[in-house]
Symmetry: C2
Subunit: 405 residues, 2 copies
């Protein structure tokens, strides 16, 4: 991709001054790791993007409150297996207790601890199990623990998702690390989507929040349908300044470089979620060009990427451009359908609103690959955007029919 950013090892512990760990507290019946902790050795600037669902888990309400205070934060605790959503005041008390316990163990104020949960809705957290596991979790914290944390936050995910990038800003090497969890379902983020970023740049707090918001729009929000967020979705980011660079200010070249690196990390993590769809066999990339605005293009791309008919056709290796055209048309963005071009990989399937003859056998072969790219050109302007999804397979139904309440 010719990225100016170098991939490095370590996930959320790649940036300086961060430790992480993941242990099995027993929340998952499987006995797999289910409790992760990420800690900065010094005060960090926190930023967050949260679900827009009217039904918010206790950790979402709590995290929004903490970040609204605009004070430094130090740690993120995440459990997998129990969502602590629809659990009322008891759920909120339990969540606050988690922050207290972590604060005590780390010797920092509870208000410097953010929390995240994912899993089954409507059951109270198993507090004794979490309490029992916390000392071991804190003891396990290590500057090599990023991948352990990545493993402890997943639920139905088949693979862990992590990234770490480095670049030079103002003469210093600066790193961003990240982990994410989630499954690219039909409406992807009905399954909780969590992502955590660490960064060793020093960043002006409002700029950090802005960078995170923009990155979410280009990445995690592009594997979702508008407003389709679960009760627990969140993206949290800590920037601790340990790289030693002066604080990055808005409207500077340094800010631009950092934002690009955060975008790249988030797009990587989001695509990994889309690819790891429940039952998915391939990643779909939908590129929309020629819209009036970028936001229009992003929206149309999302609608196509989340169309169950497009996704089913991709699973069946059927070059069904008609479904792509129909999905674009129902996105609610006006365009002239007589100018619509649709490409599948390099195959031009539709031009100026009319289907073309194409090598159906070769196109079907292309669809057996991974990833699969559809490109839609509206020829209305210069707006562009990309969204990602996965195909819809028998296994999606099996997984979701059998998941226990």
């Amino acid at each position: 991709m010719g990225s100016p950013f170098q991939k490095v090892e370590g996930a959320v512990t790649a940036p300086q001054g961060f430790r992480a760990a993941g242990v099995a507290a027993g929340l998952k019946p499987s006995g797999a790791p289910d409790l992760a902790l990420m800690v900065s050795e010094c005060d960090a600037v926190g930023a967050g993007v949260f679900t827009t669902n009217q039904v918010k888990a206790a950790c979402v309400i709590y995290g929004q409150g903490i970040l609204a205070q605009q004070q430094p934060v130090r740690a993120i605790l995440c459990n997998a297996g129990q969502a602590n959503a629809c659990t009322g005041e008891e759920g909120e008390r339990n969540n606050a207790q988690l922050a207290n316990w972590v604060g005590e163990q780390l010797g920092i104020p509870a208000a410097q601890v953010l929390t995240a949960s994912t899993g089954v809705i409507g059951r109270q957290l198993d507090m004794p199990k979490i309490q029992a596991a916390l000392p071991q979790l804190v003891q396990s914290l290590s500057t090599e623990g990023g991948e352990q944390a990545a493993r402890a936050i997943i639920t139905t995910d088949l693979v862990t998702k992590s990234i770490a990038l480095e670049t030079e800003i103002l003469g210093h090497p600066v790193r961003v690390g990240g982990i994410s969890k989630g499954s690219g379902m039909i409406h992807p983020n009905l399954a909780t989507m969590l992502a955590f970023l660490t960064c060793d740049a020093a960043v002006e707090p409002h700029l950090w929040q802005q960078i995170l918001h923009k990155a979410a729009d280009l990445s995690f929000n592009q594997i979702t349908v508008d407003g389709d967020t679960s009760t627990n979705d969140m993206l949290l980011a800590l920037a601790n300044g340990k790289s030693g660079i002066p604080t990055i200010q808005p409207d500077t070249e340094a800010a631009q470089i950092l934002a690009e690196m955060v975008n790249t990390a988030c797009i990587h993590l989001a695509k990994a979620i889309a690819r790891d769809g429940e039952g998915a066999t391939k990643l779909l990339e939908i590129q929309v060009r020629g819209a009036v605005e970028d936001a229009d293009a992003r929206h149309i791309a999302r609608v196509i990427a989340s169309s169950p008919l497009v996704k089913s056709a991709a699973f069946g290796n059927d070059p069904n451009w008609g479904r792509v055209a129909a999905a674009a048309g129902r996105a609610g963005i006006p365009f002239d359908s007589r100018r619509l071009d649709i490409r599948l990989g390099d195959f031009l399937l539709m031009q100026a609103g009319m289907p073309l003859a194409f090598d159906r056998q070769a196109a079907s072969e292309y669809l057996k690959g991974d990833p699969v790219t559809f490109t839609v050109d509206l020829h209305q302007g210069s707006g562009q955007g990309t969204a990602w999804g996965c195909d819809l397979s028998y296994d999606y139904v099996r997984i979701n029919a059998e998941y226990t309440t």
Copy 2:
């Protein structure tokens, strides 16, 4: 249901003065009937509700133009197997030719003929086959032909859908008949949804259009997600006055009764589409109460009914109220989640935002039935609405992965 309307036989030929027929023109590879014609013996008032998709089939553009002239109409020709969408100017010329041919055969102006198509997008209509079949189609027209027409408009539907109702208005028996096609998919009307109504009342033209629009909002639009309409969706209605009653005027009791009868017919036809979902094993009915506005309640009901997670859980007989709550919450309508009640049949699963203990075994047994009803009470106001969907099964994926472009 204690309806004041009596069910009668005959579908679209139940009202006086209508004939219909369906024949096999050879558009469907299976050789099943694929060409339907409905004709009023005298001028009728026409009304229509059309897809909002930006990509509109030739018949949609044509029908909107015909009805905009506010002149009497007489006939509806519908073919199944080829959608005549994304077919450019040639498609529009072909569609106009169909109206010409039907007009010639019936001895009426082409401008009195409406057209509808459903099937594969992007191929030109097989005009020779349709032309060859038209004489037989016209000869077959009969006052008993309603069910034949119902059979000729379906595609992946497993069953035909029809209804006819009668009631007394202003001392005369008045009838409404209807047929529909469509499959209750994940986003139901990505698959083309067609419905045709006949009526032997005389109705003031604007009132007839109003009645049809309102009925669509309560029925066909409640088996869909906002804006999720295919390139070909349409609902057409002809009222020919043959019952002999004086023309029904707006804001009268007669108008109210007629509207209620049309609503009842449309809800019946819409539920039949939802129940006949591709791969569906049961009908889901989502009732939302306590919203601020009826439109809010209808919207939330739609979002729940179209949630693939809710649909998968229904297939798996999993009383997963958490998915219902999460779907309600992401509908974009503000409410206080701490007042949310959710019922599955008679089982109260959630009250005031908190899960209740319930007999999970019995609730799962209830889910094996058909239909299955979820009731959501927001406790914010008196707005209410209902939506319908079906469960999501393995067969949905099979059907849509294997459907040929």
